[in-house]
């Protein structure tokens, strides 16, 4: 219950919140694919895509900079791409040396590096927006409608439901361990690495058993409410004409951005 912080949904009354979740999922995916297709250095298209995002932010009443502020999550991964700065042949634009190595940054390398980061940064933002304006259970429904196998969506629904229960459990376990992680004056506390690893493994094993046995109880609870192996759900969603128009409009805009990017 305390890990509500895991929920990324922002309760607001807005046009975007009210859209059918399918619309939001499809537009998000199309937008991300379009980003992947934009060539390096398509600056105008990048800017337009960003404007598209800002507009979506505004329409969701989250504030213009909502996704912008949270969009740096993928940045650490950029390290992986840093080598393109030096490895792509081109005009040198700068250099520095660490120890005995001399690194030369090329213009082509810089172009590629910055393009990768922008693509990633745009894609992360739309994904952030998606979960901020769609409740996760609705997202699951959307994927169900989009023909993702029911068994996967059901597993995900259970995962989401028990994520909170089990992470709370883990945090209580970690707290209990922490509160007994004491020391005495003059002795080195903590035990050996192997011992600590074993304690962590015991915690994982403990959690596994409890989860496994819990799944039995849940299965019993399901049985006693008539479950026989098939899951039935009511369809809470219906595509309205507004939903179709918005999808068409968004796809058209993304397509135009794509064309501009390739001119």
């Amino acid at each position: 219950m305390h890990f509500d912080a895991f929920d990324r949904y922002h309760e607001k009354e807005s046009f975007v919140h009210r859209l059918d979740p399918r619309v939001k999922v499809v537009v998000t995916i199309v937008f991300i694919i379009s980003n992947a297709l934009l060539p390096d250095g398509a600056w105008l298209a990048f800017v337009l895509a960003w404007l598209f995002l800002l507009m979506a932010n505004l329409l969701s009443r989250l504030g213009v900079a909502y996704t912008f502020k949270r969009s740096l999550v993928a940045l650490p991964f950029a390290l992986i791409a840093i080598t393109v700065l030096f490895s792509i042949p081109g005009k040198p634009v700068g250099s520095f040396s660490i120890a005995m190595w001399n690194f030369v940054i090329t213009d082509a390398g810089l172009l590629r590096f910055v393009s990768i980061l922008i693509r990633s940064w745009l894609s992360v933002q739309i994904a952030l927006l998606l979960v901020a304006v769609t409740r996760f259970p609705d997202l699951i429904h959307a994927f169900e409608h989009l023909r993702v196998p029911a068994i996967l969506t059901t597993i995900v629904a259970f995962l989401y439901r028990y994520l909170f229960v089990l992470t709370d459990e883990v945090f209580r376990l970690l707290r209990a361990r922490e509160s007994r992680s004491a020391g005495t004056a003059g002795k080195r506390p903590g035990g050996g690495v192997l011992w600590r690893a074993r304690v962590a493994g015991n915690m994982a094993g403990q959690l596994f058993l409890r989860s496994y046995e819990r799944s039995d109880r849940i299965y019993n609870a399901m049985l006693s409410r008539g479950y026989t192996g098939h899951l039935y759900t009511l369809n809470p969603h219906e595509m309205k004409s507004r939903d179709y128009y918005v999808t068409a409009f968004a796809i058209a805009i993304i397509f135009i951005v794509q064309m501009i990017g390739r001119l």
């Binding site: 694919i33 297709l37 991964f77 989401y160 493994g201 309205k240 179709y244």
Partner: protein, 310 residues
């Protein structure tokens, strides 16, 4: 708040469309197979079991232990999931975990999710299970030892495949990305191995029936030993080769059409991101088809909108 234990969740933007799509197709086919297999094996109990197990893996990834100098060991869980639930169920469980991490926490992208599922879910489960299965009739000590090696190798395999995908996408250089990823993951894999082994030891002591002859874990066919063994062997042989002779791989990749010739110095950079679709005649046809699809989709949607209730 959420901590991702392994630097293997690729975000969107770092893989090219072609690599992403190929990974999606591969993952989707394996997942499809896994679904039909688990349906048969587990029956009606499968849904709550796998759902809770997915939540378990997610939560267990937060268990850490201090190593030294502020770093800590973590669990990724692919091998553990496959060993306790059997390979197919383990794969589905890992798929759900990675999907939620990407979807809800942007821990890994959506277009590249196929790749993330393949690297961290399907492959780790196959390698982890295959190797473990080869020792599953031995004594507990041997079983646990092999499980440790399996867990370590599963992480290494995932890291290797991740490196290859990054390289094929033109995001990173082979000489750099392979040693970097494998180096980091050799350590991460140690944490993985230690936690996996002691978690299994815990289960063997408290509920041996879950890992015994009759359990799901023992039911995977002997073919898994081959699958796991061969993949593991490939890693062991391939990674030194790849880091010492990257040019050879470059040539192969270029021949297969993955890489533009940018690597060798000439040619347009766009070849990196769009090897099939940019600036070639094939690319122009592809772009044309995409255009037609988009226009068609827009018209169809507008038509549907006019029919639907306001």
């Amino acid at each position: 708040m959420h901590y991702s234990p392994v630097p293997m969740h690729i975000p969107d933007g770092f893989l090219s469309l072609v690599v992403s799509v190929i990974c999606w197709i591969t993952s989707a086919s394996i997942i499809g197979l896994a679904i039909s297999k688990t349906n048969k094996a587990l029956g009606e109990r499968q849904i709550p079991l796998m759902g809770i197990m997915a939540a378990f893996i997610f939560a267990a990834q937060m268990i850490n232990f201090p190593v030294a100098g502020g770093t800590s060991g973590h669990l990724l869980g692919g091998a553990l999931a496959a060993i306790v639930l059997g390979p197919w169920a383990g794969m589905l469980v890992m798929t759900a975990v990675i999907a939620v991490q990407g979807l809800l926490f942007q821990d890994g992208g959506l277009l590249v999710m196929g790749a993330n599922i393949l690297n961290m879910g399907l492959l780790t489960a196959a390698v982890g299970y295959g190797l473990y299965r080869s020792a599953s009739i031995r004594s507990n000590k041997i079983k646990l030892g092999v499980a440790g090696i399996a867990a370590w190798l599963s992480v290494m395999t995932g890291a290797l495949l991740t490196s290859l995908e990054l390289w094929l996408s033109g995001t990173s250089q082979l000489q750099v990305v392979i040693p970097a990823m494998l180096g980091v993951h050799a350590l991460i894999g140690l944490g993985e191995a230690m936690i996996t082994v002691s978690a299994l030891a815990f289960i063997l002591r408290t509920r041996p029936d879950l890992l015994g002859e009759e359990s799901e874990s023992a039911k995977g066919g002997g073919g898994w030993i081959w699958v796991g063994g061969l993949i593991a062997l490939a890693v062991v042989l391939f990674s030194p080769l790849a880091s010492t002779d990257p040019d050879g791989l470059n040539r192969v990749a270029a021949d297969l059409g993955f890489l533009g010739n940018a690597q060798s110095g000439a040619g347009p950079l766009a070849g990196y991101t769009l090897p099939f679709l940019a600036f070639t005649s094939l690319g122009k046809i592809g772009a044309g088809i995409i255009g037609i699809i988009v226009v068609g989709a827009v018209i169809l949607l507008v038509g549907r909108g006019m029919k639907a209730k306001a």
